[in-house]
Amino acid sequence: MRARVSTYLAFFAAPKLWLLVFFILPMMAMLLYSFWRVIDYQIVADFTLRNYQKIGGSLYVGVFLSTIKLSIYVTVLSLLIGYPVAYFLARKVRRFKMTLLLLVILPLWTSYLVRTYAWMLILGTQGVVNQALMGLGLITQPQTWLLYSDFAVTIALVHIYMPYLILPLYAVLEKIDPSLLEAAWDLGGGRIRTFLSVILPLSLPGIASGCLFVFIPSMGAFVTPELLGGTRSIMIGSIIAQQFGVAFEYPFGSALALVLMGIIFATAAICLRYGKPRGAV
């Protein structure tokens, strides 16, 4: 009996403890911090709404909006590129399927930072793109908008997060019963109509979760915008990181992080609510 209780604890209580220590407690701490303030480099525990009022100002609302906009670009681009890849892998490839899937996953094993730096080498004024264009005589001066811009951040984030979109989409597309496509063909459905009225709606759950897997980390990205965005492309993640770093504004940083989380939760809720195919139990 005793053994059974300890087994129970190990199996069921341990994960809960883990969640409590590493997730719930830090969250509670953040929540508390967000209502405190800093006076003379000391965090003072007096209740104030000033941090949240500050976020309501046009500066931070603007950063939030541009972060959302950029994350939507990243998500949409990832979907436009990732859907055909997932579709191809799931429904067209027979041989080398595992190898190709591995190639999709492979970049995930490279450090996030390395991949970001790689884009600096590609897009910089001395980078591959500028050198090549100048070598071809298409431009006379290095194009500076390539790096330190929304463009650079978007491209890098698409590259970094797209595998997270391809994998769930692949899983959903592969599960679609081939006899449904045969039935659509039998009833006279051409390729495009079969795709639009059968495959696309049935892959909706994959689209929803894949998009979330790209949108959420993009919203929170801070290293990539920091390195590739320069001063022209500022995302909320970088600002939050600054609050916990040089600015030493834990309370304001906590408030920003909580607002960001609120936006993410709301997006996730909407995606999961509308990302179900019709007729699902």
């Binding site: 659509a184 039998d186 195919p277 699902a280």
Partner: protein
């Protein structure tokens, strides 16, 4: 009343024709050169065990597989290979293949939308077919909210609403429980009479085939072994495979002695037996043959004395099946099954007289798959 393409045509016209059709998958020959002509308005069943080529044949008629050689004509015209909404056949799939994200109405309307039928007409045609199949109450439901039998009817409605010339059905009742299957068999037959179009049906269930079909096409190893009505096939199987597959048969090994016309005699473990030969089989003396005797033709009791053949045997098993009793008899090394009407009261172990008329014995080509040890 519903109007189906071709429903006004003469009934003895050929709707589906296969000419030396071959289909291979890699090194496996699924269909090994078959010829088949299906008359307009018939219920034809392709029957055989899994791997006999029946489903491949059906899928080729439906255009879902292309033959490696040979020709397929539907309505006298070669089958178009490019699909398209105007194809003359529609398929009812084994797992129904209903679109899970569409309601019954949307599923049924799918083919009509692909044919670009005007909206108002789609609505009335969907309503009519749904009513015909008794689904009106479920029209707004999704497939997952329905029972297997209901889903089956939706699949039928979805195919029939497009008014195909030929309806192809791939083991459509396979996933249903026995009671539902019996019920749907009855409904299918009724439906086929109502819509009057050609049904080509695939099953491995001989009882289902006998129940439904105007013509049964028995297939084995990619070939058509025999075709005809249920009665023809049951009464005059061309070989042991058909005798064994359609209904039950006691198959005994033997050696051919002599024959005149379709009357013949051969030596069996039970002695010399008279029987009849199928039209296509004329063995010569000394050939190995198989006797086929249906269990209901094995008679038991004192009155067997006047039969063409009679002998004593030991009852080893008696099972009461309701309408009849199934007896198992041992005669030397030979085991025989016999069906007698009603409740049979003698216990196992008793020695009984049994016998049969030579009229009911078939002498068939030897087939190693059905050989019983010769005593």
């Amino acid at each position: 009343m519903l109007h189906y393409r071709g429903s006004s045509r003469v009934m003895n016209q050929i709707d589906v024709e296969l000419q030396s059709v071959v289909k291979r998958f890699g090194s496996f020959t699924a269909v090994d050169g078959i010829d088949l002509a299906v008359q307009c308005g018939q219920f034809v069943t392709l029957l055989g065990p899994s791997g006999c080529g029946k489903t491949t044949t059906l899928r080729m008629i439906g255009g879902l597989e292309l033959p490696d050689s040979g020709r397929i004509l539907v309505g006298g015209e070669p089958l178009a290979t490019d699909g398209g909404a105007s194809r003359p056949t529609r398929m009812v799939f084994q797992n129904y293949a209903l679109f899970p994200h569409m309601t019954v109405a949307e599923n049924v309307a799918f083919g009509l939308r692909m044919q670009k039928v005007p909206k108002a007409e789609i609505e009335t045609r969907v309503k009519d077919i749904v009513a015909l199949l008794g689904l009106t109450a479920h029209i707004e439901k999704f497939p997952r909210q329905m029972s297997g039998g209901q889903q089956q009817r939706v699949a039928l409605a979805r195919a029939l609403v497009t008014r195909p010339r030929v309806l192809l059905l791939d083991e459509p009742l396979g996933a249903l429980d026995l009671k539902m299957r019996k019920h749907m068999q009855h409904e299918l037959k009724k439906l086929q009479r109502e819509v009057g179009i050609t049904f080509v049906y695939v099953t491995h269930d001989q009882e289902e085939a006998m129940n439904l079909s105007d013509t049964i096409v028995v297939m084995d190893h990619g070939l058509i072994v025999q075709q005809g009505s249920a009665a023809e096939i049951y009464q005059n199987p061309v070989n042991a495979y058909v005798a064994d597959f359609i209904g039950e048969a006691n198959l005994l090994s033997g050696v051919f002695r002599d024959g005149a016309g379709d009357r013949a005699t051969a030596i069996s473990p039970l002695g010399v037996l008279g029987g009849r030969l199928p039209e296509s089989y004329r063995p010569s003396a000394g050939d190995h043959v198989l006797f086929s005797i249906r269990p209901e033709h094995v008679l038991i009791g004192q009155n067997t004395a006047s039969l063409d053949f009679n002998k004593q045997g030991t009852l080893t098993e008696v099972a009461y099946l309701g309408g009849s009793s199934r007896l198992t008899l041992a005669v030397g090394d030979t085991t025989l099954r016999a069906d007698v009407p009603g409740l049979f009261t003698a216990p196992a172990g008793e020695v009984v007289m049994f016998g049969w008329q030579a009229e009911n014995v078939r002498i068939l080509r030897h087939d190693a798959r059905f050989t019983t040890p010769v005593a």
